[in-house]
Point group: C2
Chain length 83, copies 2
């Protein structure tokens, strides 16, 4: 079994309205030094196979087809062996 950790970020040229909104709230609360907030996803799951190559393939496809939108997002992942 593997644990997969995936980070999904909007591509640099894609606007992030959610980040902008949170940052406006920050300014109202007096956080004056915060700049360029960008909000992505941090996804964790397990892959129930002992074969690392199979696991990598499944994680890649899962990210590419479901977790991320590859047109506007980039993703990276790592796998950890777990018992």
């Amino acid at each position: 079994m593997f644990k997969a950790i995936v980070i999904i970020r909007k591509r640099p040229k894609i606007l992030d309205p959610e980040g902008k909104a949170v940052e406006q709230g920050a300014k109202l609360l007096g956080f004056n030094n915060v700049r360029n907030t960008r909000i992505g996803k941090y996804v964790e799951f397990f892959v129930n196979t002992e074969n690392k190559e199979d696991a990598e393939k499944e994680v890649y496809e899962y990210c590419n087809k479901l977790l991320a939108n590859p047109i506007i997002e980039d993703f990276e992942y790592r796998l950890e062996n777990v018992e």
Copy 2:
């Protein structure tokens, strides 16, 4: 200036309906080995100060008051010095 990287996760006992929904989609697409998908946030921003202590404090408060919901989420962060 510092770059802050924040990871926000739902606490272990909190249900994650978004993760469950994506995982159901995964099963329909034939990803049979994926288990226990949990979706959190990955946030990046800059803190415009040269004082690391001030930066830490502002990042902590920003997370605690705006980015995360401390009742159901845990957060962790790290700071990187940038030019």
